[in-house]
């Protein structure tokens, strides 16, 4: 299996990463170089290997209730902007009137 430029562009889209053409070409070589070392795994006999989680030590179930994380300071102290108990985020250019003076804090 080898990675093509289209593969790199596809996974970059999935990963929300913007790449210019030069970087795409470089990554084709880098990823193929790395993945060539992974081919050895195809030769391994995995007949006896289980994919079930190791339950040797088990995970304890806890009550399904929310437990707030203790904060060092109030939400208002670290949120850039809040209104009515909600965080406000900057308006995106695709939503509402871009560039308006009150653009900030209308998310």
């Amino acid at each position: 299996m080898s990675v093509s430029e289209n593969d790199v562009r596809h996974v970059a889209t999935l990963a929300r990463l913007g790449l210019d053409d030069g970087r795409v070409q470089a990554l084709v070589g880098e990823l193929n170089g790395i993945l060539a070392h992974m081919d050895v795994l195809q030769q391994v006999d995995i007949g006896g290997a289980s994919l079930d989680p190791d339950a040797t030590h088990g995970l304890r179930m806890r009550d399904d209730v929310p437990s707030p994380i203790p904060l060092a300071r109030d939400r208002e102290a670290f949120a850039p902007s809040m209104r009515d108990g909600f965080f406000l985020v900057p308006r995106l250019a695709t939503h509402g009137t871009a560039g308006a003076a009150d653009d900030e804090g209308e998310g």
Binding site: L31, M38, V44, I46, H57, R73, R75, F78
Partner: protein
């Protein structure tokens, strides 16, 4: 170097100084003052080693002022350096990444709460490879960290800043994090002790996630005792991390004062042949042989064993870790944290512009690699198969420990600290983890301690034990450290 008061104090173990502070024999600020003086002398900031990213003067002062001294406070007044991917609410937590520039966590990690509860003060955050992806601390957005003994070389990584601070004599204890060897490898390069606990032994709450099935907080110490003390404080179940396990925390200092001629009588030490390939530097092999001889003289039985799937660890690790990272790092989208760059194509454009400008080349490479191995058509061939082979690697350890072996002895790294900029091929860099990634994949505890030098550069010997048996591993480490004495650093 002229011995000045701060150096004399920092030459004493953390336990000894904490005890003196707790009982009033030293003023509460004595160790902090010594660390600040040493930090200036060692040039740990950007002007020198570039090991320290952020400092805090007010927090430690407030903590010391509020400290109620009593003899059972294990870290009374002891400064501990913290890797930049562990959440602190008084200093930034950027993971060495531009995408988190200026981010200050509203909560602190459980390990931070436990350190402060034990009396420790936290004056500095340390440099690291971006999001812990690297083996040299060259991948930080804030510049590379330099090796304290040779500034042309790397200190290892990804916890290179913490390792450099301890190796430079600035603090006795520091926290790092491990995903594939990021505490043990820099510990080996810098000639100090580094411990990776069992997966589930220490809370990951507040440790910024890289690869959640592999990540653990680890401890650096100038000595085995310093590292054991730090681990003792942070170990144990945490309600905020459901992967911590209800297994009692033993007394990790049990081997500290064992003066018997043969303290390791009855202990079986395995030497996995796969960790001693014919390509291993013969000088490194000689130092490992010397360590094995010391263990024999202490009463241990040393026998050769086999972990046959060891050579598959790097291919498995570099599928599993990037796969998990590609998911964990999806949260850095320009909305919820730090950097936000407006793009040309609405919401998607903003995501892509933010992430491409916020992440460095290695993080970008691994996110793409992880996304690729999880994508339709490749999942079974890469990720699913890697997870099956990971089980075979774990089974290797289970089988060896079930055969009566208590600990394993191996080299920590295939080489000593390398020259900065000398490893441009990604896979060549990944091979730095060849002896360490197995412990993360299997979840077993492991540690590195100095066992000698080659051309003046430190060499680490690695000990590994079965799940949750850090106590036996540290008992052997204490005995080996005592037996080697000054040889460990020559």
């Amino acid at each position: 170097m002229t011995d000045v008061p701060y150096q004399a104090l920092l030459a004493r173990s953390a336990r000894e100084v904490a005890s003196a502070i707790a009982t009033g024999d030293l003023p509460p600020h004595a160790a902090l003052d010594a660390t600040l003086a040493a930090a200036q002398h060692a040039q740990v900031g950007p002007e020198g080693l570039n090991a320290v990213l952020w400092t805090d003067a007010e927090g430690p002062a407030a903590d010391l002022a509020a400290l109620t001294l009593h003899p059972d406070l294990p870290l009374a007044g002891i400064p501990v350096a913290i890797k930049d991917n562990i959440a602190t609410h008084r200093m930034p937590t950027t993971c060495g990444s531009r995408i988190l520039e200026g981010y200050v966590s509203p909560f602190e990690a459980t390990v931070i709460s436990r350190l402060r509860g034990a009396g420790a003060v936290l004056p500095m955050k340390t440099n690291m490879d971006e999001f812990a992806m690297g083996s040299s601390t060259e991948n930080s957005a804030w510049g590379m960290t330099k090796h304290p003994l040779d500034r042309t070389r790397v200190p290892g990584g990804s916890s290179g800043g913490s390792a450099a601070v301890v190796a430079a004599g600035v603090t006795r204890i520091a926290l790092g994090s491990e995903t594939g060897g990021s505490v043990r490898q820099p510990a080996a390069f810098c000639g100090i002790v580094g411990v990776k606990p069992t997966y589930g032994r220490v809370s990951r709450h507040g440790l910024v996630a890289f690869a959640s099935s592999l990540d653990q907080v680890g401890v650096f110490g100038q000595s085995v005792d310093d590292a054991a003390l730090g681990l003792q404080v942070i170990a144990g179940v945490d309600a905020l991390d459901s992967t911590t396990v209800h297994v009692p925390v033993a007394d990790y200092r049990a081997g500290a004062n064992d003066d018997r001629a043969q303290p390791l009588a009855g202990v079986v030490v395995g030497r996995p042949t796969e960790y001693f390939p014919t390509s291993l530097d013969p000088r490194m092999r000689t130092l490992l042989d010397r360590a094995a001889d010391r263990l024999r003289s202490l009463g241990a039985e040393v026998r050769d064993v086999s972990l046959p799937h060891t050579e598959l660890a790097i291919p498995v690790y570099y599928i599993v870790a990037p796969a998990e990272a590609s998911s964990n790092l999806a949260r850095y989208d320009g909305v919820r944290y730090g950097l936000r760059v407006e793009g040309n194509d609405g919401l998607r454009g903003m995501y892509e512009a933010t992430r491409s400008q916020g992440f460095g080349p290695e993080v970008t490479r691994r996110i793409l690699l992880g996304t690729y191995v999880l994508s339709a058509g490749y999942y079974d061939a890469y990720y699913k198969r890697a997870m099956a082979v990971r089980r075979l690697i774990t089974d290797d350890f289970t089988r060896v420990f079930a055969s009566g072996v208590h600990v394993l002895l191996t080299p920590t790294t295939p080489t000593t600290a390398f020259v900065a900029g000398s490893r441009s091929d990604p896979y060549e860099m990944y091979m730095s983890d060849i002896f360490t990634a197995t412990a993360n994949l299997a979840g077993v505890p492991a540690m590195s301690q100095p066992i000698g030098r080659i051309d003046g550069l430190p060499v680490g010997g690695q000990l590994l034990a079965s799940h949750f048996d850090e106590a036996t591993m540290l008992r052997v480490a204490y005995a080996l450290e005592r037996a080697l004495g000054a040889e460990a650093h020559t």
